[in-house]
Symmetry: C2
Subunit: 321 residues, 2 copies
């Protein structure tokens, strides 16, 4: 009997873990989520995860065949199948995630980090269909990157390639969670633009609705809303963020010459507010031979269950090999 094949996509985040059943066209047939409860050990998380997955899969057992499981998770290593020292999970040094999941389901399992999963989601189901050279830049709490070269995710020698967020763009600049200073993600991310907003409120004297908002309660969405309402300083925050991001991406283009760079995540939701200054800066700073070649796009998947689609795409990619 020819059952329809499905994959299970799992996105493990610091707060929630989302699970979805995805067909080979990128349709999410069912999904659910559980709190990750990041402070608990992996041994407590694992039975909750498999229990949620089993319940989700039950209605599909007769007519569908589970072909594999794809997982996006912080610090997940595609090569080793382990999660290593994820800063937001209290899981210890090394967790054998792939082996544990494989043991439970008895089907192929692949894991990678969320930015790589996002890149695969765009390649199979989103804005990068048909592209062999592109990258996804996720602008969330930090800046992640999933880089595709010759149609495959760039994992590098150790599985951890693609740390564009930790390119140093300003010597002696902002303190970064990595222990160094001036990393791109301290400027170009949802957190980065909050820092820039505070910096501009200090530098400049114009009135701004955001002068009433504390750093702790300020969000990238607040800044976008203010900018849409012509708040001068909020608009300047997007300008400065795009200027820095475009400069850094010009350097990245010199290395990779991608067909497209796709922005994804929190800050990318601001649309033209972040796209326009980034594109202007990119055009200004790009080496002549690359000028105008690399498209700057926003993800096509953000309205959908993007994280689950990405995790699932990782497995569909494996199955297509």
């Amino acid at each position: 009997m020819n059952q329809t094949r499905i994959t299970l996509g799992i996105d493990i985040g610091g707060t929630n873990t989302v699970l979805g059943i995805v067909d080979d066209k990128g349709n999410c047939l069912a999904d659910t989520s559980i709190p990750t409860q990041a402070t608990e050990p992996f041994t407590a998380f694992f039975p909750r995860l498999t229990s949620a997955a089993d319940s989700l899969l039950t209605p599909f057992q007769s007519a569908y065949q589970l072909a594999g499981v794809g997982i996006g998770a912080p610090n997940a290593n595609y090569y080793s199948g382990t999660i290593e020292q994820a800063p937001n999970l209290n899981w210890g040094d090394v967790v054998q995630l792939r082996a544990s999941i494989h043991q439970h389901f008895g089907v192929p399992v692949a894991i990678t980090n969320d930015a790589n999963a996002a890149a695969l989601g765009e390649m199979l189901f989103g804005a990068a269909q048909g592209m062999k050279h592109f990258m996804v830049i996720t602008l969330g709490t930090g800046l992640g990157s999933g880089i595709v070269v010759n149609g495959d995710v760039l994992y590098g020698a150790d599985g951890f390639a693609g740390e564009v967020g930790h390119i140093i763009v300003q010597e002696g600049g902002r303190v970064c969670g990595c222990g160094r200073r001036g990393c791109l993600e301290t400027y170009a991310s949802a957190t980065g633009i909050r820092r820039t907003m505070m910096e501009l409120l200090a530098e400049r004297t114009e009135s701004s609705v955001l002068r009433e908002v504390s750093f702790a309660s300020l969000t990238a969405a607040n800044i976008a809303e203010a900018a849409q309402n012509d708040d001068v300083i909020a608009k300047a925050a997007f300008e400065r963020t795009g200027e820095i991001l475009g400069k850094a991406l010009a350097n990245v283009i010199a290395c990779f010459s991608p067909e497209a760079i796709i922005l994804f995540g929190g800050l990318a939701n601001a649309g033209y507010l972040i796209l326009d200054p980034t594109r202007n800066s990119l055009n200004t700073h790009t080496l002549n031979i690359f000028k105008g070649k690399t498209k700057l796009l926003v993800s096509h998947l953000m309205d959908k269950n993007a994280a689950v689609l990405g995790a699932s795409a990782l497995m569909w990619k494996e199955l297509g090999k």
Copy 2:
């Protein structure tokens, strides 16, 4: 009859064009060179090139089989087989190099730039044998890079990826031939260290044998010799060059996570003088998760006919596909 297969490797430089016959072990069985005469058009260069190649191949015709021709040349595009706007060749906008050579020899032909050819030379015959993720940095007049990902050269969407020399490392910094300012190659290259030497002679007051040498007649080899003789300013020039190169490579490692970075060409001949400060800077500036992972090496091919071996390796790689 089973003839031994050979390839013809051709390295087209701004001054000389070198041709060599190379077997699949990387032995150069014969070589020759002709002046490129860069001011003449391609139509004048081409018959001189094929005539030299034919003479070189004649003694091999009975016992050997020419399996293909690999060519390293400035601005050579692997995808299109063309040389486009090479700044040091008076060949016009686009030359159909691959097609012309193929028409003459009737065997497979592949072309790429000299840094990519160098990377393939290291992968097949040199320091990168067995590696799937590494890069070669050529430190000559400029800084070129050949980047290997998953065992293949990274050509990018348009065939021109790998312009690490044009990463901007200093905003508003030194004027670069590309029309911008602050590109890595204006600091880290044979030309870059000459500029740094002049800068240091201006900044500092210590005596130096190089105070007697004009900028025009100063070479990277002069600076290396002085540094070996404990010239304080020459040593400082290597320190500053390595510091800047190491910082830039730390950013490149964050993107690619290569197993090794192999230095090649003029400035790499200085050995420990450039390696030590570059390695120190790399160790200081590399993101924690990559620290100590990427080997910094000097090419194993520099004593040999490296450019020809690289060009030939390009064809051996094609034939092995």
